[in-house]
Structure formats: structure tokens, C-alpha cells
């Protein structure tokens, strides 16, 4: 069993990071990566169920979905899309820096990823809070308050007839973006731990699996948003 460890004793950092049940670092990395992908596949199914619900209700209540979608802030949603894809770039660059043994760069890119992640959540907070306010709808004189809670949700005027449909959209909006935001909050927590490890200089080109694995998670969260953005903010902006 310890053949590999003994043989590669010269590579001290690699060997100390090699768990006893693996023969080589490459085998260990393969297993770690595969395990993360298996988890991400379960995440695909988790979000997939909500996306399926969205598609069915969108077919049934298209009119309400169009009206409610137009009430979402496209500018803030668009900025968040750029912020999140930007954070995917910085985490990819962080993995690259770890791969090539650039410690300070790794730390910097991970910190930048955290800043972008927090920026996303702050923007999301302002978007969420505006849904609690009573305000005029974009078209006509309707007054709307879009948080779908009891005694809070309110739609009057020309949209009153499709109020219940709009409410379904807003339930899905908060469920989908809420679960997405929860994933980001968890991700930022994990990121803090990994950034601390990077600051301590624990990563080398031989072993940087936590950075790589965190990157996979963060990119997945980015992909969820890549689908959420057009489906929620861009149901129908023409006509």
C-alpha cells in the first residue's frame, strides 16, 4: 500500500497530502473531482425539479408570467449576471494560479471572487426589498406589491385579473433565486475557509484540490444563474 508514498518520498508536499487509501496523487485527484461531479449531478436534479415546475406554469399562465417578469429589474439582474460570470472568471484564474504555484495571486483571485459574490448578494438584497414596496406597474396605472406573502401581495388596476398568475411567478422567482442565493452564501463560507488555507500557503502545484473543487461548485452556481436570468427576467420584453 505504502509503495507510492515511499517511492515519492522526495515530493514531501505531495506525499503528505496523499491519503493512505490512494496510490497516487493523480488517482486521488481523479476520485475527488469525480465525487464533486456526482454531488453536482444531484444539484442538477434539485434545481431541475423547480425548473420543470416553472416551465409548466409558464405554459399555463403565460400572460401573468410576462406581466410579472417585466416588473423585475432588468438592469440589476443584468449587472448581477456580469458580476457572477466575472466571479466565475476570477475563480478560474485562482485555480490557475494555484496550479502554477503563485500563492499571492491565488489569494488575490479568491478574495476578488468573494467580493464579487458579496456584491451579487447585496444587489439581490435591494432587488428583494423592492418587492415589498407598493409601486406603480410599468404599464398603465396598476399598483403592485410583488412579495407573494399573505397580506403583502397586492395587484390592482389592469393587472388585477391576472394577479394570481403573477403571484405564481413571484413564488417561483423567490424559490429559484432564493435557493440560488443560499448556494452562494454557502459558497462564500467555503470560499472563506479556502482563502485562509491559501494565505497559509497550504496549496502547491502538487495539491490544490480544495481550490479546484470549490471552483467546480462556484461554476455550477454560475450555471444555475445563466438559466435563471433569461427565464425570469426575459420572459417577454417585446410588444
Amino acid at each position: 500500500m505504502s509503495d507510492a508514498v515511499l517511492t515519492h518520498g522526495a515530493h514531501a508536499p505531495a506525499s503528505t497530502r496523499l491519503q493512505h487509501h490512494f496510490d497516487t496523487m493523480a488517482q486521488q485527484k481523479e476520485a475527488v473531482t469525480l465525487g464533486m461531479w456526482v454531488f453536482l449531478v444531484t444539484e442538477i436534479m434539485f434545481f431541475g425539479g423547480m425548473f420543470a415546475a416553472y416551465l409548466i406554469y409558464r405554459m399555463w399562465y403565460y400572460q401573468g408570467f410576462v406581466a410579472a417578469s417585466r416588473e423585475l429589474d432588468l438592469v440589476l439582474g443584468g449587472i448581477n449576471t456580469v458580476v457572477l460570470i466575472g466571479s466565475s472568471l476570477t475563480v478560474a484564474l485562482g485555480v490557475h494560479a494555484a496550479q502554477t504555484g503563485k500563492k499571492q495571486q491565488t489569494v488575490n483571485y479568491l478574495l476578488l471572487t468573494g467580493v464579487l459574490g458579496l456584491a451579487f448578494l447585496v444587489i439581490k438584497y435591494f432587488e428583494y426589498s423592492s418587492k415589498f414596496d407598493l409601486h406603480a406597474a410599468h404599464h398603465g396605472a396598476s399598483m403592485i406589491r410583488l412579495f407573494p406573502g399573505a397580506g403583502i401581495f397586492e395587484v390592482t388596476g389592469e393587472y388585477a385579473g391576472i394577479a394570481s398568475q403573477m403571484r405564481i411567478f413571484m413564488v417561483l422567482y423567490f424559490a429559484l433565486t432564493g435557493m440560488h442565493a443560499l448556494h452562494m452564501i454557502i459558497g462564500i463560507g467555503i470560499l472563506a475557509v479556502i482563502t485562509r488555507m491559501a494565505m497559509k500557503g497550504e496549496f502547491t502545484p502538487h495539491w490544490y484540490a480544495p481550490v479546484e473543487i470549490f471552483g467546480l461548485y462556484w461554476h455550477f452556481v454560475d450555471i444555475v444563474w445563466i438559466f435563471l436570468f433569461p427565464l425570469l427576467y426575459l420572459v417577454n420584453r417585446h410588444g
Partner: protein, 115 residues
């Protein structure tokens, strides 16, 4: 462990079997930004029922770019490919069978309580 295997293991042991050039990352980021602009622009054009297909198509291309290059699937083992493909396959079952049901039942109207 014989010496040939050991030499192979030693080589692979270095762990950096593939380092993506930085230019690829920036290129993919540029492509993702361009595709985001396209998906926003298309939403303002009336394509009828094609709108959602274009939106989902663009999102699929963006997701593929992220998976292949940012998540390094392009350089991952076949086993990883199989796991990813099985995930997509199961998701197709989820969507395919659900939609085959809802889209083909002409007699099943939407709950009318919501107009």
C-alpha cells in the same frame, strides 16, 4: 508496483496534467458576455414561440462553455464525462416525461381558479 507503472505514476503524480492557458479563460469570459448581450437583445424581438427556444439555446451554449473550459471537463477523464452525461440524461427524463404528459393532454386545461 513494477517500475514502468511507477514511472507513469510518478509523472502523473505531479498533478498538473493540464494547465489551461490564461487566454482561454479570458476568451471564454468574453464569449459569455457576448452571449449575455445576445440573450438580452433577442428578448426585445418578437419571435413568437421561438423566443424561449433561443433563450434556452443561448443559455445551453453558455453553460457548455463554463462546463468544458472553466470546469475543465474538456480535459477530464472519461469517467467524469459519463457522470456528467448521466446527470443530463436523468434531467432529460425529468423534463421529457413531464412535458410529454403536460403538452399532450389536450383535455387537461390549466386550473381555472387562476383565470
Amino acid at each position: 508496483m513494477n517500475s514502468r507503472m511507477d514511472a507513469h505514476a510518478h509523472h502523473a503524480d505531479l498533478g498538473h496534467e493540464h494547465v489551461t492557458p490564461l487566454g482561454v479563460y479570458f476568451g471564454i469570459f468574453g464569449a459569455l458576455m457576448a452571449l449575455t448581450a445576445i440573450t438580452v437583445g433577442v428578448a426585445w424581438v418578437n419571435l413568437g414561440s421561438l423566443n424561449i427556444l433561443v433563450a434556452l439555446g443561448v443559455a445551453l451554449v453558455k453553460a457548455s462553455l463554463v462546463v468544458l473550459y472553466f470546469m475543465h471537463l474538456k480535459y477530464s477523464s472519461k469517467l467524469t464525462w459519463i457522470v456528467v452525461a448521466s446527470g443530463l440524461f436523468w434531467m432529460m427524463i425529468l423534463f421529457g416525461i413531464t412535458m410529454a404528459d403536460y403538452l399532450t393532454r389536450g383535455w387537461m386545461i390549466s386550473p381555472t381558479i387562476l383565470h
